[in-house]
């Protein structure tokens, strides 16, 4: 049986909500990953836990990908476009050429980068 990062994340949150302390839950999660040879998926499990936590509080996981390092004003303006419970992260991807791409919950995206426009133009 393959255990997905979402399975580990759901089990971890359920353990926490049942009253287990954070340190014990963390330790048992790590040993559980090692036992099943899924240690290499630890990062994905953490991302899933963060996502579940954000959703549980009514927020969204937002990823902002900028073509170049944004100015502080631009970064602040975009971050404030989202709610207090939203988890906003940003990265720089030069392959976007210019502009920004916004992804929400890894399911919806708003691509207003130049690379996206060129792709839409020629496909």
């Amino acid at each position: 049986m393959i255990y997905r990062p979402s399975h580990y994340a759901a089990a971890f949150r359920n353990a926490l909500s049942s009253g287990v302390s954070f340190e014990i839950a963390k330790k048992n999660l790590l040993s559980s990953l090692e036992k099943r040879g899924d240690g290499h998926r630890f990062r994905q499990v953490v991302q899933e836990i963060e996502r579940l936590e954000t959703r549980a509080h009514g927020g969204q996981c937002v990823t902002l990908e900028f073509a170049h390092e944004p100015t502080q004003d631009a970064r602040t303006a975009l971050t404030h476009a989202f709610g207090p419970h939203d988890r906003v992260s940003s990265t720089v991807r030069s392959d976007l050429i210019a502009g920004v791409r916004i992804t929400i919950d890894d399911e919806r995206e708003l691509d207003i980068s130049l690379a996206g426009k060129l792709r839409a133009l020629f496909h």
């Binding site: 890894d106 919806r108 995206e109 020629f122």
Partner: protein, 507 residues
């Protein structure tokens, strides 16, 4: 040429409108062997066309497996450019091929793109996008198969008649002439002037590119390419394209059928199609069944072949005839895939290696071949002359063991053996030389009514050729034309034929 390209690009750039909006997106989490597992795209539908955004451009894929958290997609191109982390966009539409009237005479891929180097097919305005998967016509919109589809092969047209709207399987070992039978059928559509033109689609699945090139050359040389489309998924194609090719052929056929035309589709061959589907299913981790084929292998072929139909007048009156080809191993027609397809189709033409090696070509085993539509799909003229043929050959086969002892047999048995040998020799036909049915009718009439009793076995072919030339030269109007146009041999035509045969045999 470069000026035209610049013009086209300029129009596209000038006409571009920016409409930023949120789109559903997914991400490739696993890729290999032409299969990608995608996370996200929770609203994707089965068979939806996806675009994987790779560094070198968009790569098309189809959503094949919809699982709880992932989508298993088959990549419709060389998958080397796809990497983990690539974004995937849905298109909201199922895979379809662009079809227009200009697709006749062209060679296309399983995705409907030009493969003959002659540029784009048709214009945007004239193109219709036909879905590869479409429900088969229901019972109410069909009518009985009555109009014949003449193959030009004497043995088939006389004893295993095929009708427009029928599915007739061509089955045999490798090298028994299955593709030759199919190609002769395409070539013969030039000879069948008394009926509406049949448009042909030849689907080459997993064939050698050299073989496909030879077939295209043969069709072009004979002038048959004008009404034929070749869908090519050669042996070096990824398995998804081999899987899609027959559905693309069916979609092209349905385009013409919906316009009231008669279409013939040849799937060459479905054994390779089944192997490609097995490969895809195993890579998608679907549970293997018998011979490692997935559990829905029957449904794969049944839903493809059920799309062949004869529509009633209310739905345009068009027809879609299917000639699927299956390759057997060592003559085993009881294997898994052959028995599946035999149970789906409306009959089979069984080609035997032993007959082929004896020089009987086409190597049709008349005893094991059948057409479930039968004489309903035969012209009255052919029905009249061919009625006795199967019986005579059956009797000959029973006596075949005694052939070597012919001198010890009574006169009537010797006569039956001689007649059987004559008929067997008469039914031989060279490759690429289909015979129009209005020539076959008088030839069989002559053979079955004693006009060829005196003809030696070695002279049968030349007798037949001379007889046809004689009838073409002297009796086109009173014998051949009535048979060709009406499909019947009236009393008057029969009398004319008898007189002509008497005169010809005396000469």
């Amino acid at each position: 040429m470069s000026y035209e390209i610049i013009e086209k690009l300029q129009r596209e750039i000038a006409g571009y409108t920016d409409d930023p909006a949120f789109h559903q997106v997914g991400m490739v989490v696993e890729v290999g062997d032409g299969i990608a597992r995608i996370k996200g795209l929770t609203k994707a539908v089965s068979q939806e066309l996806l675009h994987i955004q790779t560094k070198s451009g968009d790569v098309p894929a189809i959503a094949f497996s919809l699982e709880e958290e992932f989508i298993g997609a088959i990549i419709l191109a060389r998958g080397e450019g796809v990497a983990v982390g690539d974004r995937v966009r849905g298109t909201g539409r199922v895979l379809s091929v662009p079809v227009c009237d200009e697709i006749l005479g062209r060679v296309v891929t399983a995705l409907g793109e030009s493969a003959d180097g002659k540029g784009t097919i048709g214009t945007e305005a004239s193109t219709t996008y036909c879905p590869l998967e479409r429900p088969a016509p229901d019972v109410v919109s069909r009518e009985s198969v009555r109009m014949p589809l003449h193959t030009g092969i004497k043995a088939v047209d006389a004893m295993i008649p095929i009708g427009r709207g029928q599915r007739e399987l061509i089955i045999g070992d490798r090298g028994t002439g299955k593709t030759a039978v199919a190609l002769d059928t395409i070539l013969n559509q030039m000879n069948d002037k008394g009926r509406p033109q049949v448009y042909c689609v030849y689907v080459a699945i997993g064939q050698k590119q050299s073989k496909v090139a030879q077939i295209v050359h043969k069709l072009r040389k004979a002038g048959a390419l004008e009404y034929t489309t070749v869908v090519s998924a050669p042996a070096g194609s990824p398995a998804p394209l081999l899987y899609l090719a027959p559905f693309a052929g069916a979609a092209i056929a349905e385009y013409f059928m919906d316009k009231g035309k008669d279409v013939l589709v040849i799937y060459d061959d479905l054994s390779k199609h089944a192997d490609a589907y097995r490969e895809i299913s195993l890579l998608l981790r679907r549970s293997p069944g018998r011979e490692a084929y997935p559990g829905d292998i029957f449904y794969l072929h049944s839903r493809l072949l059920e799309r062949a139909a004869k529509l009633d007048k209310a739905h345009g009156g068009g027809s879609f005839t299917a000639l699927p080809i299956i390759e057997t191993k060592l003559g085993d027609v009881a294997a898994y895939i052959p028995t599946n397809v035999i149970s789906i189709t409306d009959g089979q033409i069984y080609l035997e290696s032993s007959l082929f090696n004896q020089g009987i070509r086409p190597a049709v085993n008349v005893g094991l071949s059948v057409s479930r539509v039968g004489s309903s799909a035969q012209t009255k003229a052919m029905k009249k002359v061919a009625g006795k043929l199967r019986l005579e050959l059956a009797q000959f086969r029973e006596l075949a063991a005694f052939v070597q002892f012919a001198s010890d047999l009574d006169a009537s048995t010797r006569a039956k053996i001689a007649r059987g040998e004559l008929l067997t020799e008469l039914l031989k036909q060279p490759d690429g030389a289909p015979q129009a049915f209005y020539h076959t009718v008088p030839v069989l009439y002559a053979a079955l009514n004693g006009y060829m009793e005196h003809v030696a076995k070695s002279e049968v072919r030349s007798f037949e050729t001379r007889l046809i030339d004689y009838l073409d030269a002297h009796h086109r109007a009173d014998i051949l034309k009535p048979i060709e146009t009406t499909g019947e041999m009236t009393e008057e035509t029969e009398q004319s034929l008898k007189a002509a045969l008497l005169k010809f045999t005396k000469e």
